[in-house]
Symmetry: D2
Subunit: 408 residues, 4 copies
């Protein structure tokens, strides 16, 4: 491995002249739901494989798609005309030969149980049994990839591909409010207070200097909106909640919050849904098109992003997945351990197919160094942290298997 | 619109200490094929709408998916066990009311004709009629979005959403060889010489200092590989072609080329296919998971990337799509017109839902200024170029309708 | 209408030299479940159309199919590997224009609610939400048929097609035991006593002279069969129940009962299922392939049969459906009102497309006349009964809408 | 086996007072096409299994369905809005273990190749590649049935189930004209002369005394009908062709022919199609819902019918299929060999699961004996003929494998 640690030439993000742009798709957004379903299926498959065969077999559900339905919401109610469809696309080992006899993996049951569970945990007003259709087209894997995969059972797994993983830390104010606003609006506490707020939420933020613009797109639930006034009231509650949160967590910024800016009230255009998600009416979702493993989408100047989808891939040797989590972990740890010397840390890892996953082809750690900090010490620290996280592939795997790694 | 033009604090990319990482998924890669199918369907729908009704109606095919099949290739041939499936997911206006009577759009026919055409143009060894299944689940759009959309028929269209578009220019050496290697390997000229080389190609490049590593993943076509020797020979032809190209277009770099590094010859692990694409055996594809509108995936430090998928969206008011193309266009034009004063240009555009598309919420143009160049002049030039490209939304639309805009 | 009443030249069925052959597919047989789902969807659609628009619109779900799953049952349990799929195939009006605005019919919701309900009412051990997938491909109707259909809204409906309906009465002993055995085995009383007996039951009977052979095929439920002994015991309970029933309802016949004759105990071949239906493992079902509207399949010499499927068709003007019920009704009524003078009655009706449904093209009533009975009186009675049933199309429609007409 | 030969008490069908009712669904009717596809797939699978493994493995495609599309025909042309879908439903062995290694059957390729071939051979104006979607959900078979099946590889196969087969000979005049009219109208000769006549044809006949009513339903092809006059002209050509045929083959009957009686010309209601089949617009088809193995549907008094579908089932031990062909064969042979002594012959066979297929549980041969004929001789002849056909199961299998057995 070549591991480069460099000083960044850029100023700290809060001091940059460049505007910041941040987005988070909430837990009920079709892309996030797709990510969550894919990852949950990967977990369930891994668990089944482990319990029955002592090892995780090849699988990759990273094209899980939600095909939007057709709905006709109206204040107070509405009709589901066509159900939304949850379709697991990908590959999974479906039979295993043990001592000459074939064992069948109950893929169909694993998919339906898992997806129903995700829907129930994600949505308050979407019934998996009467408002959703759950299906899969998971097929056995390519022989080539299985070859690489199987080799990695006992020792350090070998990278299944040449892939990137990128991460950074810490979050800027704009990033903080984007993430936290969604978490708050999708918390039980807020939903209990404002049941009209559906789980399909998108927070889009941009900052220029000290002014932070937060635009929230929140699908409202029709049965809790008997009329236009109730809808507008719910919109206000969302706005106020985010405004209050901003005052608390990023007090120094001037924050402007807007909600459902696409509405045209006098033309009866609202973001109204029956179930709290736009997928009920034609908005589709798919793995890897939403939040990065950081939890955010950050096209801001200087923030790294990869196209690699983490969700749904196998947690054993899929480096695109593993490095996505590790990169962010490395960045966070360096910032933490550097105790102020590293203002910001950016990590990029590139794997080499067929090589142990703790030995990437290339590691690139870029640090915005604090004034007066000792770069040599930082360099050393960074390398140590990076290697220790890379070597702890077993710990990362455990996080995946226990559902503790953020993948969206 | 706030349009910021800033000087970049970073050195030119070729002089940066940071490693570069670049990837291009070739025209036969399942993700690229998905992009191409989605965009071609958007074009075909737009054309149909225009010819029959004088305007483009709402559509969004940006979740087009390829569900991999099952194949058992062997040297000289093999069996397609299950066909790969091309599934158009999304929304499209399927009926139009004209003077009280309903006109039906032949969505099914448009999809199948378009996808067959894309397959034939993309692949030499994949037959759309006997080796593919083509289907769609395109549903009518959400009333909300249709509302915004319809408003944009006559005057400057209004942005359908709050979305990002990012772009940059010019390409670095690593980026050049990545793009050009794929274009060369997928050219008729090379395919005529090396018919075993399938169209599913991935080029992954990283550069550290002057050393450029190019890894090519090329699905080989079994009927042109009667045996292992033929396979290895084809691999060598690919390698040599890229090596020669590098010597020609980036002569100053030290270039190392590797092909199909996942092969393990003595374990009979090859990247062998019947049809030239890994989608024949379980590799799925989906829109928006491959190349950005630049033609590349660039997680490199400093290179901007958006998650927005350009392919398949409507070309009238989908700002995510339109700004993706415009950003790159603006960057290229500034570089060209600045005649050496702008070493690199980065463009970020953020739309405001409901506002005219030539008036973004935020524009961010970052320039790496040449020594001795006049930044004020550059700033003025940049603003003028940006506005003129934004105002030329009709020209960009025309590029989409004529298939001249690069979306992957 | 030409209505012929003729004397049959054949002896009463019980005295015929010819063997009798009778079959009944029980309520859990995939073909019967398909029929039931199709008919229930027709009822639900009719109800929705009536309640919302005051009339029944065109629909035809008479190709409803069950696509068998993959299951691996074992004594005491087993795995559902792939779910069985309930697929509604056919046509249904999905939008209605009222005063210039379009109303959408929630077809998707109607289908899923109805099919879940049928599954719950039919099976004790099949969960619609975790062991079944429910979907539909119902499309708008052909303009031609809609034309004929709409014309029949106010007055006597016009026949939608040229179709047959046939019926007969009364049942022979072999027919009685075939029907009643299934009803008994699928009764709550028997299931409470023998929970291992699944609802997928086929009774196949043949009679030669006084000897009646009854073969019962009954899918056993694995969780109630911890071992081979329990399975064999359940088989015996089925056998004994049918034997006892025969002694009670057809005491004069010598009845031999066999259960699951395909079993080969020493080769571990059983009719074992997890859910009580063979559809869990690849046995498919479809409308119109099971019992006729009489409740039976009767290839016996002299018993009439039509290929017309009654289930799922619209109850307003689909003569194939309406005449199937009317023919049996006419036969039963003539037998009842003739008080012994008509030993057996066979009815055949042939419609004429575009003519009122109470005016068939051809009616053929064949009577096995009792010795000394007055044929002229019988002829008159038969014609009167036939016409009164034909004229009571409103009563028959009501039976369909209330789910009181037997269609399988 | 109990084999009964009995004298029929009924008069010859031509002399019966009862009306006759006969129907034939032509080769382009969705039900017939489904039958043909299913049978062709069974043939193709059998051929593949035999060539690669020396034996026919379990399969059953007898629920093949055609899901109608959506089309908007108009004189001279029209639009295919949604494609019709050809969906193979059923079971087929998809992997075979040979000496410890698994061989995969290319089910997907076999299905698509076969169905394309059937479409091309059946229709002149339906393109399988741009107007049809071909797919399958064939799954591996139930262990139980595989058990019975495998046992029958070497010796006389054992019946896979308890099933009926019925047949009769010869055809009546009404039956002859029904069958021959369809064969004529779907002949190349007629199509060359009247290209507007599509292949989706239904002939429905009833006879009362000497009067024979023939109703032909023929989907017309829009591109050959530039206007109403051309349509009416094509209708007349169909009518005249059938009228001329009747004069030739059943000269003694008074024949009335009607074509497309559902048309209402002044309301613009026609049976017009783009492709020659009603499946283009919502008319679905499925195996086993059309013609019996006799080639006809015959609800006429006295004509036997079974619900058993012959098409798509395995030709080795599926007795429902095999006995359907054998019954008709036995009836025809007895009539032929009895040289006038047997006016009509009816055959019913009932299998016994697990017993050799040449040893049915019950055989019932009913003969309408010519005046002065010797019944004892007929009885003997009938038994001999029956047994010889039953014993020639290898010949019947060959007919299936070579596509020479009529199954619809």
């Amino acid at each position: 491995m070549v591991l480069k640690v460099t000083k960044s030439a850029l100023p700290p993000i809060e001091k940059s002249e460049n505007p910041e742009m941040v987005e988070r798709k909430g837990k009920g957004h079709p892309d996030s739901v797709s990510d969550e379903c894919a990852e949950a299926i990967s977990r369930a498959l891994s668990k089944y494989y482990l319990e029955n065969f002592g090892q995780v077999f090849h699988h990759n559900v990273d094209k899980f798609s939600i095909i939007g339905g057709i709905a006709k919401p109206r204040f107070g109610g509405g009709d589901i005309v066509e159900l939304q469809k949850f379709l697991a696309i990908g590959r999974a080992t479906n039979q295993v030969m043990v001592k000459g006899s074939i064992h069948y993996i109950p893929i169909g049951t694993i998919v339906v149980d898992t997806v129903r569970d995700v829907i129930k945990k994600t949505f308050r007003n979407l019934d998996p049994d009467t408002q959703c259709n759950i299906d899969h087209v998971l097929r056995p894997g390519s022989l080539d990839l299985v070859g690489v995969f199987d080799a990695g059972v006992s020792a350090t797994p070998l990278a299944n591909d040449t892939s990137f993983g990128v991460g950074f830390a810490p979050f800027s104010d704009a990033e903080k409010i984007t993430l936290e606003a969604e978490l708050l609006l999708n918390s039980d506490k807020f939903k209990d207070k404002c049941p009209a707020s559906g789980e399909d939420i998108k927070v889009m933020t941009h900052r220029l200097g000290d002014e932070v613009n937060v635009t929230v797109c929140n699908a409202m639930v029709s049965k809790y909106c008997p009329d236009k006034a109730a809808y507008v009231n719910a919109r206000d509650m969302v706005k106020n909640a985010v405004q209050d949160l901003a005052a608390k967590i990023i007090p120094k910024k001037k924050v402007i919050v807007n909600v459902n800016t696409g509405d045209i009230l006098d033309k009866e255009v609202y973001f109204l849904t029956i179930t709290g998600t736009s997928a009920e009416n034609g908005d589709d979702g798919v793995v890897g098109r939403g939040n990065r493993a950081s939890g955010l989408i950050t096209p801001t100047n200087g923030r790294p992003q990869t196209l690699e989808a983490a969700a749904g891939k196998n947690p054993i040797n899929h480096v695109g997945k593993i490095y996505s989590i590790m990169s962010n972990e490395i960045a966070r740890k360096i910032v933490a351990e550097a105790k102020g010397d590293a203002i910001e840390v950016y990590v990029r890892l590139l794997s080499q197919i067929g090589h142990p996953i703790n030995d990437p082809w290339l590691g690139d750690i870029e640090v915005k160094v604090a004034p007066n900090a000792d770069f040599n010490k930082l360099e050393k620290l960074s390398k140590e942290v990076a290697q220790s996280v890379l070597d702890d592939w077993m710990g990362v795997r455990k996080m995946f298997l226990e559902g503790k790694a953020r993948v969206w």
